[in-house]
Subunit: 326 residues, 2 copies
DNA sequence: CTGAAAGCGCTTACAG
DNA sequence: CTGAAAGCGCTTACAG
């Protein structure tokens, strides 16, 4: 039996007698043969490799996404190669090393991939999918939930429960998630007839940044009674600063809402009210987008918007309506 | 200029005129040329790929290790490919897919890689390094800190501060870290003349398992005043169950010590006293071991033991000596 | 020191 | 439907 025939047995669309294929596959299974992917990709120019770019994983949202997404991509026959670094410069270098392996596409979980790194990926034929954010220049593919709507939901929830002085804890100003959540929250607050929320600049999506932001509440012109934080980990740091640093009670003095619904948000020590991201749907969308892109099919829609997710009520928001609570 | 010459320019040990090499490398840099790693590995049988196996990342210790280790390996010119899954069966499959890429070696961060998966890796020529644990059968390479000594340190600390009724919260019974920490803790407690600590079986290294273990304290024959948990995330769950579920005060009623010193342990909401792992050293040892193994040099020592790490005092242990504390 | 040639393990027109 | 042949982009003896 020739190499050609064996090769054809592994390609569902190849022209080969059904019986021949059966024999080949059976025997391959016996001796543990699999086509060498390096030789394959030398010919086909397809590698079945997806490059995954990660950086700041202090936000527990990402490790979870990274491993689940990896598992899903593997089930779809793709392998993920990782590029990781703590500074944008090193990350760039790591991406370049990764690109020598000619990934079919890249998935970016990092908030700090530079735009020219994206261009470099596309230059070597690897389209880039940004997960849970859009690229700074609006190019590349994006999978994201409806963050504007999520921000609006948070505003409605707080206002419905009688909050009148809102604030938003802002994270990395270049992150679309941050910008969109802020916009939804502020717009809705105005629509409901209240003043624009005060903005507290935390600068990053991290516990530490949230903690600092919490401490800065005491120097705010007006004392907020309801706060939306750009994400959960920020919210947790923020709340702890309020409690430990300023001696305030949450939700007694201030209500706080997070965003993401990471596992930790449900722990007894936090019980954070938060907007859950529709993670499963976002990952499923990413995987199917990845398959299309890897097959070099045309994908018309560059930005995939998944529904807004739901508000999960826990214990960091208090009902401040007259005649209710205390 | 021939392909042979160009090729030689990229191999430091190849015989080539210095001037020729300079010219080639310069031009390569100009046009962004890099040797195609697939074609290279087809010849050399080396891929510069290290396979990383992860599974349960609810323990924040691992995402941190994964990204830092990835960054370090990339700086050493290796690329990491990820295998991830939530069940041992799927993980096995993921490992097999990964193996088709013929990684030079594997690094295992997962606690649940089956032994025959390790054998399969070695069968295709990829040695396996277990990070922060040893394999179930004691084979493969291992990088681990001195967990026995760490357990002893915890016992000494608690006993020095007047604790008399110790307990150990045990995680996955098949994990060497768990077994060793338990042994050090129990042995030292006996040596100091106290009864063997009571063992609380949590079964896993997770917040939830810790929480369950905490609730089970009320049905223990003797009420413990000092507890070592197999790791931090377990300790955090354990403490929260004590506080929320049983209404106990930590450290007022019970002192708790963790293991790892993850970032969260230092947060104001936890302030967990814990044994820090010498993470930098463990990762550095892993990378240099990886380089040796990738170069197919002989590595005589299969288990690398890094120092025990230090006890970090925070606020979950109370001084119970007479005339002290309250 | 450099170049021509063989060969790594595949896929894919092309002939039969 | 199957096989022989070319070729993917490299490395490495071998000759010069």
């Amino acid at each position: 039996m020739s190499v050609s025939t064996v090769s054809r047995a592994f390609y569902p669309s190849a022209i080969i007698a059904a019986e021949t294929r059966r024999i080949v596959l059976e025997r391959a299974n016996e001796i543990g043969y699999r086509p060498n992917p390096f030789a394959q990709s030398l010919i086909t120019k397809k590698t079945q490799i997806v490059g995954m770019v990660v950086s700041d994983l202090t936000n527990p949202f990402y490790p979870d996404v990274m491993t689940k997404l990896t598992a899903l991509l593997q089930q779809a026959g793709m392998n993920v190669m990782l590029a990781s670094a703590d500074t944008p410069e090193k990350l760039d270098e790591a991406v370049e090393l990764l690109l020598t392996y000619q990934p079919d596409l890249m998935v970016v979980l990092a908030t700090n991939l530079q735009s020219h790194a994206r261009e470099k990926c596309e230059a070597v034929g690897a389209p880039v999918i940004f997960f849970n954010r859009l690229s700074a220049d609006g190019l590349g593919y994006g999978v994201s939930c409806d963050n504007v709507e999520g921000g609006r939901q948070a505003a409605d929830h707080l206002i419905d429960l009688g909050h009148r002085e809102l604030a938003y804890v802002s994270a990395f100003p270049g992150a679309s998630t941050n910008v969109e959540r802020q916009r939804g929250f502020c717009d809705r607050t105005l629509e409901r007839g209240l003043d624009t929320p005060q903005i507290i600049e935390a600068g990053l999506f991290s516990y530490e940044a949230g903690y600092e932001a919490g401490l800065s509440v005491k120097s705010l012109p007006r004392h907020p009674d309801g706060v939306l934080c750009a994400n959960d980990i920020l919210a947790i740091g923020f709340i702890e600063a309020l409690q430990e640093g300023l001696g305030l009670d949450v939700p007694g003095d201030v209500s706080v809402v997070g965003y993401d619904n990471i596992a930790m948000a449900g722990w007894p020590s936090h019980r954070l009210t938060t907007i859950a991201q529709p993670l499963e749907q976002m990952m499923a969308a990413t995987v199917s987008l990845a398959r299309e892109l890897a097959a070099e099919r045309q994908v018309p829609q560059r930005i995939l918007r998944i529904g807004p997710g739901e508000l999960v009520e826990r214990r960091t928001v208090r009902d401040r309506r007259k005649g209710k609570g205390a």
